[in-house]
Point group: C2
Chain length 227, copies 2
């Protein structure tokens, strides 16, 4: 058994968070792809409370919930800190990571998944407002973490990885360069980092994006990590 | 201006979290009671994103979101650690703190606030299942933090502080000694600690519990800290 194992799911941006952090730290790991329609006995044992991916197993000890895992990784492996050293800056990073999970993700789900035409405009407006708030926090920095990828960049990975694909599949234009010039530049910069490219298992051109987007939308929809 | 200020609300268990942590650490602070129907310009300035209490201001730097503030306090003042030293135990504490906020709190809100009779039984069953899961995690320890009050105890303060009062006001019996002997013992032990008693501003016997419970239920209902 590898010292570090990650029970995850291709296409889950919660799993990607953990992969990015491990790669940034230079930690070798075994990725174990889960079949959510037939979860492995090990996953059910390791995360008996939520029965969800991702789960990190380090020396036989399981850790669940993606932001908890990110903190664990930063507490355990010291290279390439994910969180800043300064307590106030640490708090700021945690604040924005939570903002992305609890606000932006939910609003984007509502905007992309809205079935009712009269609610669509409001949902889009709300998602845009929250993305603008996030953009204002980015300011003119290369990454939310400054010159280096940090916690907030990792948590926001779905904006860089998936919004483009989702928009293409659903024929929605919400996250555009015109609307969010700085956040758009960030997303380009982020996905083009060599370490991020390694994590991103680019789907071939011929792949139909739709089934993929269903998985990602599923991640967006749920309150927690993928079920 | 005091070096440490807490913008909070009497009766908000989110504010209590911060007060408990500061008292455990022996940090002097100024408590600034907010009027939620007329929020102070300082609160709106310090937490311009959520406009909610609690907000901790340390040397002029504001920090919002109660669990983020707790981590900040533990990062800043080293006496009486709130989180364990060991990374796996730290992750475990963060996992259960999140479980209490995202699962137990929501389920208790549903159980106590359920208006539809046919949903009431299911909501109560779900809340009981989650409290039982939490009780199983407590095991035979004095506190979730072991011999000392830690992050999970602080986050769970509403169980000790308020469930009794809410049940009395609403005439509901859900959290009982018979159903949850260990968790009940924990809640008794917790509220009777001298440092917790200091934080708990006991309402006089003659106080009608109902308006108080409205404030607390309000905290329970919201996804985030009190608005």
């Amino acid at each position: 058994m590898a010292e570090v194992q990650l029970f995850g799911l291709w296409g889950s941006f919660f799993s990607h968070r953990i992969e990015i952090a491990l790669k940034l730290k230079g930690v070798e790991y075994e990725f174990i792809e889960e079949d959510l329609s037939n979860k492995s006995p090990l996953l059910l044992q390791y995360n008996s409370i939520h029965k969800k991916v991702p789960v990190l197993v380090h020396k036989g000890n399981p850790i669940a919930e993606s932001r908890v895992i990110l903190e664990y990784i930063d507490d355990t492996w010291k290279g390439h800190p994910i969180l800043p050293e300064n307590p106030h800056e640490r708090a700021n990073a945690r604040f924005w990571a939570q903002f992305i999970d609890e606000k932006c993700r939910v609003a984007l789900r509502n905007a992309y998944g809205c079935q009712e035409q009269d609610r669509e405009e409001e949902a889009t407006r709300e998602a845009c407002e929250l993305l603008k708030t996030l953009e204002n926090e980015l300011k003119d920095r290369r990454f939310f973490g400054g010159d280096k990828i940090g916690l907030v960049d990792i948590v926001a990975n779905f904006i860089g990885f998936w919004l483009g694909a989702i928009q293409e599949a659903l024929e929605v234009k919400l996250f555009t360069e015109e609307r969010f010039p700085k956040l758009y530049r960030w997303s380009e910069e982020f996905v083009n980092c060599s370490i991020i490219k390694e994590t991103r298992k680019v789907c071939p051109q011929e792949t139909n994006l739709f089934p993929l987007c269903v998985v990602v939308m599923d991640s967006l929809v749920r309150n927690q990590d993928v079920n």
